[in-house]
């Protein structure tokens, strides 16, 4: 059974020892962000954090780092908390291939409990706070933002559910960053070409599967809701917005309905980004909020973002790798073994592949650059043999150390597109890209001395089992 809402997932984390409740009084700044950064510093198995005693607040609760570790990611998928990363990748890929699963429609939702249509003040409704010291204000950075294609409004798949950074710029006003490579930028362009505002719904505090689907680089006409259904193995529940033809996650804690204002740009940021650098000081679109719904005593889910690794990197690790894997397999079904695009949202990606002939691995790297996600990311592609595990970085380093010849295997392709947030891009949005072929040369490439790869002594697996058993009994 799927998690019906955010609270049910928090309960599951609590049962598994993956939710730490902080009952001592904390300040909104710097404590909440500092504690979350601290938990990110403690490794890949850390818990989510729930703050329920916030200085100056009465009933506020803030949940942080909810998908911010591999055990929490496994629990999101309803797998055992200790499932190895590579197994999570292949299970995610198996479910991804079940797409699409039609949605289940509901008439009412828990967030209808409280409705606010006048005197909206987001600063009162949510316990907003600063994440990083250079941030220009208080942000929402883990909400599902829902918009529809204006040229094909009946197309359910072209409705977009995405996660974008939004600065709270007034009591009922948000700034939003629609990166050109992301689908919402298409909807905004359509609205501005017509001179009309774009209806938008923002859902905060969702169960983690829709958040994961919303953060997955799907194709433009693939529905995040139908992908969420595939990932959770049953139809995803949605409810219609009251003022627009937009579908909302049924289990949301807080829902904001409003409009992206046509032709408006306003000073935004800076904001500490997933690249480990601030970006901002540019003029970006604005959302006017007209209506708010929320559950009684809503839990505010927020996400600390900063120098990797943070929750962002767990949240967009496997779900960035799998679409690349599937799209590469569409081109090379018998060769592609696995893809690890977990580094800074896939600015670096590692591909494990079989090869048919010399030069093949470089073609695989070129294909990765031309996938939809590759157009905005994939600045460095490392291609390794099928027996190198791309999730095992020491193995990848071994392949680079021994298989790559800089004269033959380092390709630089000039002036390709990349997301403008890449701090090295010049101008912003343009960069050279690189493919490092760390596969073994294959005929007609006959260079190097690779005919005597080292094998292990006999019976290593038997001894591994014996020693592991001895260590467990120690």
């Amino acid at each position: 059974m799927a998690y019906k809402d955010f609270r049910e997932f928090l309960d599951r984390l609590r049962q598994e020892g993956q939710l730490l409740t902080l009952t001592d009084k904390v300040n909104l700044e710097p404590d909440v962000a500092a504690a979350t950064r601290a938990v990110n510093n403690l490794g890949g198995s850390t818990p989510a954090l729930l703050f329920n005693n916030i200085h100056g607040c009465t009933n506020a609760q803030i949940a942080m780092n909810v998908i911010g570790s591999w055990p929490n990611h496994a629990l999101m998928m309803k797998m055992p908390a200790n499932t190895p990363l590579k197994d999570q990748f292949f299970e995610f890929a198996r479910r991804y291939a079940q797409f699409p699963v039609p949605v289940q429609r509901e008439e009412t939702a828990p967030f209808h409990e409280v409705e606010i249509t006048s005197d909206i003040n987001l600063f009162d409704i949510l316990p907003l706070f600063r994440l990083n010291q250079g941030d220009g204000g208080f942000y929402l950075d883990k909400a599902c933002v829902i918009t529809r294609d204006l040229e094909d409004p009946e197309n359910f798949g072209k409705q977009n559910v995405g996660i974008y950074r939004m600065q709270v710029k007034g009591k009922d006003r948000l700034g939003i960053q629609p990166v050109p490579q992301h689908d919402i930028a298409i909807h905004l362009r359509q609205a501005e070409e017509r001179g009309i505002n774009l209806p938008v719904v923002i859902a905060l505090g969702n169960e983690p599967v829709i958040t994961t689907a919303a953060a997955t680089p799907l194709l433009y006409d693939q529905s995040e809701y139908e992908m969420a259904g595939a990932l959770q193995g049953e139809p995803y529940r949605v409810v219609k917005a009251k003022t627009a033809d937009l579908d909302i996650p049924w289990g949301a804690e807080v829902v904001l309905e409003g409009e992206l204002l046509t032709g408006v740009r306003e000073f935004e940021g800076p904001f500490g980004e997933f690249t480990g650098h601030y970006s901002g000081g540019r003029s970006m679109p604005v959302i006017q909020i007209n209506r708010v719904y929320h559950r009684k005593n809503p839990i505010f889910e927020h996400l600390y973002i900063g120098m990797p690794w943070t929750e962002t990197d767990y949240m967009i690790g496997i779900n960035t790798s799998v679409p690349l894997y599937q799209q590469l397999k569409d081109s090379f079904p018998n060769e592609i073994v696995a893809v690890n695009a977990m580094y800074t949202h896939g600015l670096v990606a590692i591909i494990s592949t079989r090869r048919r002939y010399g030069g093949f691995a470089k073609a695989v790297g070129m294909r990765a650059l031309t996938t939809p996600h590759g157009l905005g990311y994939c600045k460095l592609i490392i291609v390794v043999d099928e027996d190198v595990d791309p999730f095992n970085l020491p193995q990848v380093m071994w392949a680079l150390s021994t298989k790559m010849h800089p004269k033959h295997d380092a390709l630089i392709i000039p002036d390709l597109s990349v997301l403008p947030l890449d701090p090295g891009s010049e101008p912003a949005g343009i960069t050279h890209k690189m493919i490092l072929d760390a596969t073994t040369p294959l005929a007609p490439e006959t260079r190097g001395h690779y005919s005597q790869p080292l094998d292990s002594p006999l019976d290593v697996e038997k001894w591994q089992a014996i020693i592991q058993d001895m260590l467990l009994k120690k």
Binding site: L28, C57, F123, R130, G136, K169, R194, S283
Partner: protein
Amino acid sequence: MHTCPRCESKTASVVAVSPVKGVWEVYLCPVCIFTWRSTEPETITNPEKYNPAFKVNPEEIPFAAHVPPIARRLH
């Protein structure tokens, strides 16, 4: 009216007060849209101690690049 620690405009106003009376206030500057809470450290709240690398010159705000550019109206 309050002075913005970031752009030093004098027109910031209170947008929220703590639910528990008297603990904190939140201010918003209408010029550079900077937002801060009264209980944050001086490196955030005090114009003289705000990180110079993140200061904003109000005169430069109108020249900030549009991201994304405003689409030309077709209909």
